[in-house]
């Protein structure tokens, strides 16, 4: 970059945009015009309560817009509102991706949570019936709330977990794959894995169409803990109240501590989080989560 235009670009950034926005470099040259790319870093603070250390990490967002120049003149640039909207949608994208990644890292454990199991009991019953030889269509009519069961079955068929035959529902491809990898005596394990898979693959449908949101806080609390740890590059030791603070802040909630304690308690029982004075994580889940995040987030997020 030539000195004069570099100075002008820096002045423009300082005047027009908030902190963290910077000129990344030339994105396109088409004589006589040159485009410069805007990028941004956004700070995240993470406090490890055991080490009593504040870690300041930055999320990086790129391609926020272009500044067009001609010679040493700036001819156009995106408005601050446009740039901020792109950062905002970048944040949403990061959050959605990390939720997806955490879900695929913990779904088997989620199936062990009593509250989740209870609210999805009809699904569990269907899976059990299918696993034990198939669910006859004629039997389905005898179920109380048969219509609701039909909805669940159609949802499970859509996920390839069940398959419809002329007179009954049997195991679909995904179900068979899981079963193949395990012995018949691991009955509970097979069902748990399939059940977890239902939550993982069908999350959006469960939330939006079947109105089953009980699993949401467990995914979110896990996401907050593991994404903070991912940014820190290690499993964090957090005070309960600080994890609650991060949770409420990240999701714009006002969850009272009594509710939060109950989520935490269930997450501990399911082996997703641990507590020994501080809330800590599970190293296997962390490794799985981190490896997947590296692939998913590049180049948007650099921790």
């Amino acid at each position: 970059m030539e000195r004069k235009i570099e100075e002008k670009l820096n002045e423009l950034v300082l005047e027009k945009y908030p902190q963290g926005i910077y000129v990344k470099g030339v994105s396109r040259k088409s004589f006589p015009k040159t485009s410069f790319n805007l990028s941004s870093v956004f700070p995240r603070s993470i406090f490890d309560d055991k080490e009593e250390k504040l870690l300041i990490k930055f999320l990086r967002f790129e391609n926020l817009g272009s500044i067009e120049t001609e010679g040493d003149k700036i001819i156009s640039y995106p408005s601050m509102e446009e740039v901020m909207k792109r950062i905002e949608s970048g944040f949403e994208e990061v959050q959605l991706k990390s939720e997806r990644v955490i879900l695929s890292s913990i779904y088997e454990n989620l199936a062990k949570i009593a509250m989740v199991r209870t609210s999805l009991n009809p699904i569990y019953n269907i899976l059990k019936a299918v696993y034990e030889g198939g669910l006859k269509k004629s039997d389905l009519e005898k179920y109380p709330k048969a219509d609701r069961y039909k909805k669940y079955i159609s949802f499970l068929c859509g996920l390839n977990i069940l398959k419809e035959e002329s007179s009954k529902y049997v195991e679909g491809n995904y179900f068979i794959e899981i079963e193949k990898g395990l012995k018949r005596e691991d009955r509970e394990l097979v069902l748990n894995k399939v059940f977890g898979l239902v939550i993982k693959e069908g999350k959006a449908y469960l939330f939006n169409n079947l109105n089953i949101t009980v699993v949401k806080p467990f995914i979110r609390v896990s996401n907050v803990y593991y994404s903070q740890s991912y940014l820190a590059g290690k499993l964090l030791s957090l005070k309960k109240e600080n994890l609650l603070y991060y949770y409420n802040k990240m999701y714009g909630l006002k969850t009272p501590s009594v509710n939060f304690e109950s989520y935490l308690d269930q997450l501990k029982r399911a082996g997703i989080l641990e507590e020994d004075g501080f809330v800590e994580g599970n190293s296997k889940i962390f490794t799985k989560f981190s490896n997947q995040m590296v692939l998913e987030m590049r180049p948007k997020l650099v921790g």
Binding site: Q19, F42, K57, E88
Partner: protein
């Protein structure tokens, strides 16, 4: 000789993007006993949707004039001008790159992208024999003390390092001075007498 301003109510910033309003709140309270809400300062500064910090605090200028306070700004390239400001009991606000703390503190660790992010701090004292500046950084918690005394300062920086950090943010220094005329009080403003 040491020149040091015992800083009244050294606040700990509430969130990462709040360094500027926190520093301004502390300065105005210390120098002019003017107690403003952080929310109000943010509004005047023009905070964006994500709570990002504007680069400049010039937006404050008009609002503070009503209180008889003038915002001053200067490009400073050597320590002498800063020392003079401190001797005159001013509290210069400066911007550093957020990773300036690397190697300065065991309590804070900033990743490398901190060199792309500005962070404001306040210069509160100088030791002209040891050639060091005393800095108030709201990233640190000073407990609930009424006054930040010299022995509790967390960042003490030699002149060359200070000037070098200042150069990275274009040598810009801001401070506040009392002017003679006071148009209208902030209290009046906040009680609904709009512009």
């Amino acid at each position: 000789m040491i020149y040091f301003n015992d800083l009244k109510q050294p606040l700990h910033q509430t969130e990462l993007a709040s360094c500027v309003p926190t520093c301004i709140k502390v300065i105005l309270n210390h120098q002019f006993s003017l107690s403003l809400k952080e929310k109000q300062i943010k509004k005047w500064l023009g905070y964006t949707i994500l709570g990002c910090v504007p680069h400049s605090i010039r937006n404050l200028s008009e609002k503070l004039k009503r209180e008889g306070i003038e915002l001053k700004e200067k490009i400073v390239k050597n320590e002498k001008e800063l020392i003079d400001l401190i001797k005159n009991k001013h509290l210069p606000l400066v911007y550093f790159r957020a990773n300036y703390l690397d190697g300065f503190s065991e309590e804070v660790e900033v990743d490398e992208d901190g060199n792309k992010y500005y962070h404001s701090v306040v210069l509160i004292g100088v030791d002209d024999e040891k050639e060091k500046f005393y800095i108030y950084d709201s990233l640190f918690s000073y407990g609930n003390v009424a006054t930040l005394k010299i022995e509790s300062v967390k960042v003490i920086m030699p002149y060359p390092k200070f000037i070098s950090e200042l150069e990275k943010t274009d040598n810009r220094v801001f401070w506040f001075e009392r002017t003679k005329k006071k148009d209208r009080t902030i209290g009046e403003f906040e009680n609904g007498k709009k512009d």
